[in-house]
Amino acid sequence: MKIHSVKTWAWVHKWSSLVCTVFMLLLCLTGLPLIFSHEISHLLGNEVEPPVLPAHTPQASMDKVLNNAKALYPSRVVQFVFRDIDETNSWTVSLGKTATSEDDTKFVKMDSRTAKVLQEPKFNEGFLYVMFKLHVDLFAGLPGMLFLGLMGVLLVVAIISGVVLYAPFMRRLAFGEIRRDRAPKLKRLDTHNFLGIVTLVWALVVGTTGIINAWADLVIKYWQFDQMSAMTAPYKGLPPPTHFASLQAAVDTAQAREPDMRLGFIAFPGTAFSSPHHYGMFMRGDSPVTARLFKPVLIDAQTAKLTDSREVPWYLATLLISQPLHFGDYGGMPLKILWLILDVFTIVVLWTGLVLWWKKRAHPQVETEQHIALNEAYAAR
């Protein structure tokens, strides 16, 4: 590679990294507890498991589950009923001030067999909530999300330019060679290059899926505009329903439409995932991929009859598939532990990169070509 182009790549690597490093350190640090959010939640007592009942205990009617949850907050509006991907014996009901309000939402976790209240989990306060908000939007809503997405783009640029720069620095070094017995600078450089090149593909995957996730709110808004409005077109202009059909009947209709799938979550009328006239029943399959590719089934909230059901379009499918690849939640504890190790090593790459730049500031006369020449001079063992 020509020395001129090495200089250009070095400039790209330096500035793309410098701008995003502080935010990437924040994302790596806040991401660590989020990998184990389920386990931490249990440890902190913020999530109780439903009691063990004899196998084949029948499920209670969804109407009963819903009414018992609503009884705690009669003045509130039900927004969603949901459960974790591997949960079979509970439903969590979220109740807001209105169908679309996002602040001060109440959550009630119900036993799906006895329809009894298990707990009122606090999903919007505490340690994990702070970590989550810092990780997703810096407490700044959509602008915060898009800003972090932009930092993700810079990370990808930094990774690609870093791979290009790997070559001129490795011409005389063996793979994985860390010069520990020389200047600390060389050990730092070798650590940065080695850990950077091994975590490369993981960091690229988590980085790009993170960028896609930053667009989640906008993608869902577009899906409403593009698909939901078309599916619910016959209801346009009608007054909102005054009485509602049985929720269990609506669930049964959706289940009959997709007999091989199971219910993932229910979006209530007026929320972002339904229309004012419908229950949005989101069905999932059983494989890791199909369990995340929800299939929406719209049920008329007054009659419990099927209105429409469509496959999710490519852009929503992309978002849904990019989520597990970002969270690392699709391979049980072994995958979570790998995510943890790779995250920690990424922190080391970011930190050594930052220190390399900081120390080099004191010697601004050192040019890139000198840097490479010095690096190679010290390659001799």
């Binding site: 080695f194 091994v198 020449a373």
Partner: protein
């Protein structure tokens, strides 16, 4: 720029010499990430998580274990 004489014993490496291990570990990582998502449990899923584990083990081994032996 001061003249820096290179007295390295190792000759300049070719592109493939430099990138063969990064490519192998990168392919294993990608294979592990994607196959784990596509498979439905079972022993094959253990293989695919194992594929993702190899680069991590290599990294930890070279960075910590190898240097311990050397010193």
């Amino acid at each position: 720029m001061p003249h820096v004489k290179s007295h390295a014993k190792m000759p300049t490496k070719t592109f493939m010499q430099m990138f063969i291990w990064p490519i192998v570990l990168g392919v294993l990582t990608l294979f592990g990430l994607v196959m784990t998502l596509l498979l439905e449990g079972g022993w094959l899923e253990l293989v695919s998580i194992g594929a993702l584990g190899i680069p991590v083990i290599v990294m930890v081994y070279i960075y910590y274990v190898k240097s311990v032996f050397r010193h």
